[in-house]
């Protein structure tokens, strides 16, 4: 059914639906996230969590200085994060600007990484300030170049000024462009939405419009994937599943730099959305530096001591 039968595509029905969502109490949400941050994950469960986290990393480079060399290096690392240990899983995807997609795709295929998808940031990433025509073309280019996942940004200006229908229609349009060819991740840029009420509202808006994933941030704005923001988004996908029987994924991105923070994210998933979400098809972590810390901790658990950082490849 279109829009899961929850809204009928009119502005009034969208506004009514989003207005009917219960509010988020800031103090309570932050306290719950902080409490879950005190979970102590040790020994065998830590080992499992590290491998799971590696398989969920969207290994990312989104720099003006990106080159073919940089992207191919990243692709190699994505397939075999630790060349000395074949038991380390490949990452969830690599995430690049859209002109780098074909280079990434080709190189991944070349090095035995045909199972690793390429995610492209689209729709005038990171600001989203462009015409709809440009945003559509941006997305088409990425898909044509072989992107299996599209990370689009929403128009935060429209959202904050109350033009929720404009935001909705943009996502619907990009969803159509993606069709069956690409998964759609919708970046809310929670650091610009600021309140948890907005995060919840934007999460539902994106899910109704057809997102496969909701993603916190571009990585260009701070704060990014803070635990309470991720908590509110996980509650949203959990509640959405209750209504629609459809599981939407969540991708925190930005600010998750070490193993401890990554494991805290997994605990949030486990105790909020539930263990069903503990799979790369429903939870990803957008990061660059995180992968090496996960590898270092993995080596530490295997060998019993911290190796020199020179044992981990830089890209």
């Amino acid at each position: 059914m279109k829009y899961y039968g929850l809204v009928d595509g009119t502005e009034a029905s969208l506004n009514n639906f989003l207005k009917s969502l219960p509010g988020v109490d800031q103090v309570g949400a932050e306290a719950r996230a902080a409490m879950l941050g005190t979970r102590s994950i040790k020994t065998s469960s830590k080992k499992k969590a590290i491998d799971l986290a590696i398989s969920m990393v969207d290994l990312t480079t989104l720099e003006g200085a990106d080159t073919a060399g940089k992207v191919t290096a990243l692709a190699s690392k994505a397939v075999r994060p630790d060349p000395s240990d074949p038991t380390v899983p490949s990452v969830g995807a690599i995430c690049v600007y859209n002109d780098m997609v074909s280079i990434a795709r080709k190189h991944l295929d070349l090095v035995g990484g045909s199972h690793v998808p390429v995610a492209a940031v689209c729709t005038a990433f990171p600001s989203g300030r462009a015409s709809m025509a440009v945003k559509i073309q941006d997305t088409l280019d990425a898909i044509e170049a072989g992107a299996g996942e599209i990370d689009m940004v929403i128009d935060r200006g429209a959202f904050l000024s109350g033009h929720l229908m404009d935001v909705f229609e943009e996502i619907v349009k990009i969803r159509e462009v993606c069709g069956e060819k690409a998964h759609l991740k919708v970046i809310l840029e929670t650091g610009e939405l600021v309140t948890y009420d907005n995060v919840r509202k934007a999460s539902f808006l994106a899910m109704l419009a057809g997102a496969d994933f909701i993603k916190t941030s571009t990585g260009k704005v701070a704060p990014a994937a803070t635990p309470p923001v991720v908590l509110v988004m996980l509650e949203a996908v959990r509640d959405f599943y209750q209504i629609t029987n459809k599981r939407i994924g969540v991708k925190p991105a930005g600010g998750i730099r070490n193993t401890k923070d990554a494991i805290k994210q997994l605990v949030l998933v486990n105790e909020t959305a539930g263990p069903e979400w503990l799979t790369p098809s429903l939870f990803r972590i957008g990061a660059s530096a995180l992968l090496n810390d996960l590898l270092m901790q993995r080596m530490k658990m295997r060998d019993g001591y911290y190796a020199s950082p020179t044992y981990v490849t830089i890209d």
């Binding site: 219960p22 988020v24 309570g28 979970r39 040790k42 997994l266 263990p275 503990l278 799979t279």
Partner: protein, 482 residues
């Protein structure tokens, strides 16, 4: 589907040293004590130590020591000097926080996460807060130079042993009183460790005396003619007995007694945080909390949604070893309390309420009760009226805000209440209508030394904490309020 089981993450107990036997702490040193009884770990029923049963003679010695210390040393010290001792005790509590937390969890059965993150930091905070008052009593609103009562007799419960000790001792000492404190029968160990802290802080002998024992020891303390002020936290039944006992005397008293708090959820509540607040309100400290939100009042149009989310959330509660850092719900403090919880829960079944608990395995040894809710409860059920003091929640519904207030106030108790609504005007209106000493809005079970705590009606007399709590340990110099 991936399972993410948390491996046990046990806090080490090697940091604490427990003697096989303890005496009382009187006049700055430990006595041998007599008639020792076993103190057990409620999570596995192993014996931790043997505690002396204080006699009327022990109480007498302790009160004499407190009187001498009051007259010769403590009442002669300036507020600034008393404050220094309190600051010193507060810092030592912080330095030895892990030791206190582990010992508290062993002795009481509460999860280490709670003793580590709530009880011990708050206990230290109470000493810091009252240390600051010691030299500012002229500004406590009690006139110029308010004076202490003299010797305070203090009796504390087993649910928050070290925290209740600090609620009692810190204001008493700040105001210039000396004390004789009796910890609860089942949880004396952190009080005895605190006695060591008093020695470490070089607190003058006799200022703090700790006599362990049972109800008979407490009665001897209450009845002792050398006591000027009684401070009691515990059951309403014992509170009434104390009130009767001191009625013909000049003794002052503060009583912090039972409760049956209403936690009211209005239709415009922030649902997810409300569910957290409900869980925190009743399952915090295994429900062994006098201000626990043990009566959940749900507005009918959100009742179903809240209950279904509450059940999902309750299934995530981790019940088990109190020393595991991932445990949310620990052991029931004693077999006696467990029997009481079982008895009242059975009355819920018998009276037709519907019981629900998530599937959860509890350890074989020790005293355990799963997190439980009863739905279909009305005001006429025993479980809606009597304090269960365990992880058992009674769920009632209401149609209008007025009805919620009527139900909330329809209890002989009046210690605390919770309001859940996103609407500021409704919160303020409801708070004004509720007959309860502490009202939380969009949160529950939050404590701070600066905030007065205490009840209406049969929940007690007086307040503890803040300026109000301090005045209970002072008499007004100008009105000569003897």
């Amino acid at each position: 589907m991936t399972t993410f089981d948390y491996a046990p993450a046990l806090e080490s107990r090697t940091i604490v040293t427990i003697d096989p036997q303890y005496g009382h702490f009187i006049n700055g040193s430990f006595t041998k004590g007599s008639n020792h009884f076993a103190s057990i770990n409620p999570s596995d029923e192993t014996v931790l130590s043997h505690i002396a049963l204080g006699s009327a003679q022990d109480i007498d010695t302790a009160v004499d020591a407190a009187r001498v210390a009051y007259e010769s040393v403590w009442s002669k010290l300036s507020g600034k000097e008393r404050g220094k001792y309190l600051y010193r005790i507060a810092r030592i509590l912080q330095e030895r926080a892990r030791e206190f937390a582990v010992l508290e969890s062993l002795d009481n059965g509460k999860p280490i996460r709670e003793s580590r993150d709530v009880d011990v930091p708050l206990a230290a905070a109470h000493f810091f807060y009252h240390a600051g008052w010691a030299d500012k009593l002229d500004y406590a609103g009690m006139g110029n130079s308010p004076r202490p009562h003299g010797v305070a007799g203090q009796i504390i419960p087993w649910n928050f042993p070290i925290l209740m000790l600090s609620w009692k001792i810190a204001p008493a000492l700040a105001a210039g009183n000396t004390v004789v404190l009796k910890p609860a029968e089942t949880t004396s160990l952190t009080a005895l460790l605190f006695a060591q802290v008093c020695q470490q802080a070089e607190l003058p002998a006799g200022v703090v005396n700790i006599v362990t024992g049972d109800g008979s020891t407490g009665a001897a303390l209450v009845e002792h003619p050398g006591i000027d002020k009684i401070a009691f936290t515990g059951s309403t039944e014992v509170g009434k007995a104390i009130a009767r006992a001191i009625a013909p005397t000049k003794k002052k008293a503060t009583l912090e007694l039972g409760g049956k708090a209403a936690n009211i959820v209005f239709e415009d509540a922030p649902i997810d945080e409300t569910v957290e607040g409900i869980v925190n309100g009743i399952f915090f400290n295994q429900g062994h909390v006098c201000c626990a939100g043990s009566r959940l009042l749900l507005q009918e149009d959100v009742a179903e949604e809240v209950l279904s989310k509450l059940k999902v959330r309750m299934a995530k509660i981790r019940v088990g070893d109190p020393l595991d850092k991932n445990t949310d719900l620990g052991a029931i403090n004693s077999s006696e309390q467990l029997l009481k919880i079982r008895d009242l829960s059975k009355s819920g079944d018998d009276e037709g309420a519907e019981r629900w608990s998530p599937p959860c395995a509890v350890p074989e040894k020790g005293f355990w009760f799963p997190p439980t809710i009863f739905t279909g409860v009305t005001q006429a059920h025993r479980i809606a009226r009597e304090e269960i003091f365990g992880p058992v929640l009674s769920v009632l519904t209401f149609r209008t805000p007025q009805e919620a207030i009527e139900k909330a106030n329809n209890t002989p108790y009046g210690l605390s209440a919770g309001i859940w609504s996103e609407k500021g005007s409704r919160i303020l209106w409801a708070a004004g209508q509720l007959k309860a000493g502490v009202i939380w809005a969009n949160t529950f079970n939050k404590f701070d030394p600066a905030s007065p705590f205490g009840g209406y009606k049969e929940s007690g007399w007086g307040r503890e904490g803040g300026r109000h709590g301090l005045t209970a340990y002072l008499k007004d110099a100008e009105s000569n309020n003897e």
